[in-house]
Symmetry: C2
């Protein structure tokens, strides 16, 4: 049901029956390692390409979520997934393996919450019994496609971020036990004219702010409603900008509430420059860390605001600025 | 509402309040030219890149659909769109121009019906007043990205297809006048092991067949229910294979009912080899030609089965076969 201009309220409160997070060796040394279901020592996952390794991460996340819920593949109507690879091959090839009817989505790193929002809408409208939502990224596959092969050893400025090697998946259904999806705010494309692909956090911060403001306007609630409001992958730079912009706009969110998955995922001593990024960042931190904290009773209400930079290497070459977007999903215990 | 395993029945029958099709110079010489709202003489549309030209096609299709319906941009809640460009930049940059909350989708050339299916679900579940669904492709942009720049003059086998330069858009809402979306069948990924990117029609045919069979099984109706069952862009080769496969599976569909947008869009004398393809193929033929025929009273019930090849140049280089998908949407007057 539409509320306000861009928010869906899910009156049936679809349940996240199970979720899973799978990561790589760098995530294994991270700050939320204990919240991953599998942590691979081998960045190749035994595959002969990074792209195939990414597909494997996503397949595993989906399969583990199903296993935890005790639900068979055949009983899941739809798989919704997105990733950063050209033509989202990680998602489409994983969909081939999983064998479920499939809806490919793309919102760059906002794909995680775009998928969860649509999955919840599908369940809320009784258009499926079970929907699996997933998202993935792979550091080396992303570096190769968007920047340079990692073997070149190219240097990066302090505003750059580290693409997470990981995948997250959530099985959504009606009833049962688990965290409930209560609303979702779909973002507009915001472009403040920034064009530096090594400073995505700054480019995406205004989109996160726009969606957060829309969420509170549409829902007519205060930020204190939530225990945590976590942006997807703004990193240190973008997080500070988003926090300042929100304060400027009269929506001051306390430091203990406003956080960012890209800051949380790694330890301060890991050389991730401004923080984590990639579709797998908000997907693993949400479907692993945050949902685990909810299940333990540490968090009651969270708002995940997954952020995405909708550019391509070609749009950058053609001197376009970076259009950004953020989708927010509210999860309550 | 879910019916069977993978079909949504829209009991409120969302209305296509207006639709638009925009094409290029080659489409202007085609068989359904009179059904386009704008036909550009200049393949560049006055832009400095093919990618920017494609974005322009999509923006225009969206703007014309809104204009025809007499609905302002601000009153449309969501824009759903997909295209073939890496990171679907045509859709995302058009979403920046249109300024509506945006859900990016990707199903290769099936994106047109993936978008219409989701838009109808959003309207049917009262999650928006108006949703704009669009899809686009540009011949030269696609050739450059997937194959070779057209200036190379590379030769192609007789199974190859011609990417349509065009965009289609449909404004969907509740009530009002116009063709109604009554159901949608979301496809599974089907991969029969074919790997020739110059024979997409053959690769996609089994996916079209799988979705058509699922549609009739879930809806418990016969093919004769429809005046037209049109696949998206199988072309001559794929169309023949799909027709044969359906007959083999005991679902013989008469020649005057089963057709293909990729065959319909161009004249026999145009050098398009096996026929048209691209997201813009089913989008322009459906949102222009077919809906016009419905509005004139020539067609009462149609099923559009948009087909997509979910590979990338990289997955081809890595010796992967081509995973394919098809989404079917039923439109009734």
């Amino acid at each position: 049901m539409l509320k306000g201009h861009q928010t869906w309220v899910f009156y049936s409160k679809p349940t996240i029956l199970a979720s899973a997070a799978v990561g790589g060796p760098f995530e294994a040394k991270g700050a939320v390692a204990e919240d991953f279901d599998i942590l691979h020592e081998d960045i190749w996952l035994g595959q002969d390409s990074y792209e195939k390794a990414e597909k494997k991460l996503l397949e595993q996340a989906g399969e583990i979520a199903l296993e935890k819920a005790g639900i068979k593949k055949e009983d899941v109507q739809f798989f919704l997934s997105g990733d950063l690879m050209n033509q989202i091959i990680s998602s489409s090839f994983a969909a081939r393996t999983l064998g479920m009817p499939y809806l490919g989505i793309f919102g760059a790193c906002s794909s995680s919450m775009e998928g969860l929002a649509l999955a919840s809408l599908i369940i809320d409208s009784k258009s499926a019994n079970y929907v699996l939502a997933g998202a993935s990224s792979h550091n080396a596959a992303a570096e190769k496609q968007f920047r340079y092969p990692t073997e070149y050893g190219s240097q990066k400025p302090p505003t750059a971020q580290w693409t997470v090697t990981g995948a997250g998946a959530a099985l959504v259904g009606e009833g049962g036990h688990g965290p409930r999806v209560t609303s979702a705010t779909i973002g507009r494309v915001i472009d403040m004219g920034l064009s530096d692909p090594f400073n995505m956090g700054a480019a995406m911060a205004p989109a996160a702010v726009d969606t957060i403001e829309a969420h509170f306007r549409d829902m007519n609630i205060e930020p204190s409603y939530y225990d945590i409001i976590a942006t997807g992958d703004l990193g240190k730079i973008g997080h500070r900008i988003a926090s300042d912009l929100l304060t400027d706009h009269g929506l001051k969110i306390p430091e203990n509430i406003l956080t960012d998955c890209g800051i949380l995922i790694y330890k301060p001593e890991q050389p991730v420059i401004a923080g984590g990024s990639g579709c797998g960042c908000s997907a693993t931190v949400t479907y692993g860390h945050f949902l685990n904290r909810m299940r333990k009773g540490e968090l009651k209400r969270i708002l995940i605001v997954a952020t995405g930079a909708l550019m391509s290497p070609l749009s950058f070459q053609q001197k376009e600025s970076i259009p950004c977007i953020a989708h927010a999903v509210s999860i309550e215990m």
